[in-house]
Amino acid sequence: MDVFQQLFISGILLGGVYALLSIGLTLIFGVIRVGNFAHGHFVMLGMYASYWLWRAGIDPYIGAPIVFGAFFVIGAGIHHKMISRTLTMPHLVQVFVTLGLAIALEAMVHLAWGGDFRFVQLEYTSRIVEIGQARVVVGSLVAFGFALLATAVIYAFLHGTDVGKAIRATAQDPYAAQAMGIDIGRIFDLTFGLGVGSAALAGSLLVPMFPAFPSVGLGYSLIAFVVVVLGGLGSVPGALMGGLLVALIETFTAFHISPSFKEGMYFLLFILVLVLRPAGLFGLRGSELVGIHR
């Protein structure tokens, strides 16, 4: 087995996972300018939702659209009832609201279903496939495929539909968008719903490979934040490239330097990007400065 090939392919597939985790967050962060600290927790909820659907006899990949739909509605509702009230308040309030939401969600899940690890055992996702001289697990190929598909679909939605254009307009300049007659309250609800739905969808695609447990959310949030900043706020292709970049750095650093330093290396890159190009690799220059102040 060729080490470079294995590392590269494992890195790319892990990048797909990271991209999936981040697509939802880049939308929320980029459009509404809210740092959703509960992001990873919605991934966790998506994992649990898929797990329970699987227990009821529905394959996670078939149940994924159901999970997306359900959490789209939940996300829009959360924004409408909770987050929208904080948009005129200082950033710290928004941070604490999403943080509080994260803590509450974790505690509720722990209370309802305990701390046990929940595994979805699918026979076909653990099958091993050879790509060149590398061996990969079917589950990670599927997750990668979905990451590409999700990126393409959301990109097409944002650029090809009127609603999508309205979202992009709101991201660029909410005042001008309002002046053009766009109902930005509704756009924000929609975007938050899209973001939360995507997070839950990522959970559905991860649960055949990784276990669901109440505190799995924080780690995912952390990765998503790094990827989103690297890729550029609001840029969905940026989330994909950012995910791939973080995963490849992690994988190659772990092998060639040391496994204990793998996270440290991509955080180093993170700091570099923040210093040299804070808008992110694919973000519009200056976009990081635009905030919503009403």
Binding site: M1, L7, V136, S215, V216, T251, A254, F255
Partner: protein, 426 residues
């Protein structure tokens, strides 16, 4: 003045004396029935919750058994619970238990990281810290006189693993000390790092080739580590992992077809049913070095046999499954406090008296439900460590764990050495 004559004075005085005597007696009686309050601190939420909860369950069963017998010298144990999902919470809760709740014994904590955040608080406040689960050596190396640890230290676990590899696994796989290549994979917290350090030192002394890799326990991909292990051509791996990463490592090792002659696991990740439920038959053949559990009762004395039976019965009745070694640590450690220490203390709520009683205990191997003896080291080097505690070796055979070493406590022979290929293990 005339009304107070001698008779009424005597009557009054004797009535007062009787009342005084009665109230003193009542007070002593009431004191004698007052419960002994013990603080109990474990991670019951957060990432360590799965194992923290089960260890606390073991501790609680010990308390329930003693309370059913009437308590310690007639006084029941009253538990004041605290949840410590992480170190910051542990510190806050320890301060609450000691400062607000006024307990004189803090029992816990399952995880060495949590314990090391709070032993200093107990020491400063002159409260006893009774550690039943955290095994990092450093806990008894800070020169504290109030810290007692019932289970064996982590360094001995690594030693037991190495002893077992040298005596059993290597010879059966056609290897000896000069040909054996040992690889250590561990998560990077205090527990994992302590074990790795001990193994590195020991391997150097014995002339065994050795490499070690560490990683953050919530890693999503361990492929690079497995590729490094393959590059180093390791024969036997010793791993120190929690549940999530243990499963990820094993699955990815299978994916990459890592060929191993043996695998000895030291972290709690491989001890639980969750591990074999997730990885299936490929878990068989794997050795683990847990604290004692499922040992041969013929190696125990009468009281220990009775306690062991009562523990198994109570746990199975409540949780519908067998207790794990993590649970046993909670039970065994608490039982030592309640059977061997507190009854002998002149005042079970006076830390100095408790300490004196603990240091006076001298019981041989086989006298506790875990198979351990009890003798705490005096203040000084490793003060507070139970010298007569040890680890055992079990093996996954036929989808279940069975004790295979030390021979006196074994219930089965070790098999599958060298380890068969992936897919052909049982």
């Amino acid at each position: 003045m005339n009304q107070i004559n001698r008779r009424s004075l005597v009557k009054g005085a004797s009535a007062a004396a009787v009342l005084a005597g009665a109230s003193v007696a009542l007070n002593v009686f009431a004191q004698g029935r007052k419960p002994i309050r013990v603080g109990m601190i474990f991670p019951i939420t957060g990432p360590l919750a799965l194992l923290g909860e089960t260890q606390m369950a073991g501790a609680q069963i010990a308390i329930d058994i003693i309370n059913q017998e009437g308590g310690v010298n007639g006084r029941k144990i009253e538990v004041v619970k605290a949840d410590a999902p992480n170190s910051q919470a542990a510190i806050a809760e320890a301060n609450r238990l000691i400062g607000n709740e006024n307990v004189k014994i803090v029992l816990g904590t399952y995880a060495s990281g949590l314990a090391s955040s709070i032993v200093g608080i107990a020491e400063r406040s002159n409260v006893i810290h009774w550690e039943v689960g955290g095994v990092a050596d450093s806990l008894t190396q800070r020169g504290f006189k109030n810290v007692f640890r019932t289970p064996p230290p982590a360094s001995l676990q690594g030693m037991m693993a190495l002893e077992f590899i040298n005596e059993v696994v290597a010879p059966k796989s056609g290897l000896n000390k000069s040909t054996l290549r040992l690889g250590v994979v561990h998560e990077d917290s205090e527990f994992g790092s302590t074990v790795a350090k001990t193994l590195a030192e020991r391997s150097k002394v014995e002339g065994i080739k050795f490499t070690a890799y560490s990683y953050a326990k919530d890693s999503n991909d361990l492929t690079p580590i497995i590729l490094r292990l393959r590059q180093d051509a390791v024969d036997v791996i010793v791993s120190v992992q929690y549940v999530n990463d243990a499963i990820l490592f094993w699955k990815q090792a299978k994916q990459l077809n890592l060929a191993l002659k043996g695998h000895v696991a030291l972290g709690a990740g491989h001890f639980e049913r969750s591990f074999i439920d997730a990885v299936g038959k490929d878990a068989n053949g794997l050795f683990i070095v847990p604290p004692p559990v499922e040992i041969n009762p013929s190696g125990l004395d009468a009281t220990a046999q009775k306690d062991l039976a009562a523990f198994n019965k109570a746990f199975e009745a409540q949780y519908k499954k067998s207790p794990s070694s993590v649970t046993m640590l909670g039970f065994a450690g608490t039982m030592i406090l309640l059977r061997d220490v507190l009854p002998k203390a002149s005042d079970p709520e006076n830390p100095d008296a408790i300490r004196a009683a603990a240091l006076a205990v001298d019981k041989p191997i086989g006298s506790t439900a875990a198979g351990w003896g009890v003798k705490f080291r005096p203040p000084g080097e490793n003060g507070g460590q139970n010298e007569r505690a040890f680890w055992i070796v079990q093996q996954w055979q036929g989808d279940n764990l069975h004790t295979v070493y030390p021979i006196k406590l074994a219930v089965r022979q070790p098999n599958q050495m060298p380890l068969p290929a992936w897919g052909s293990r049982s």
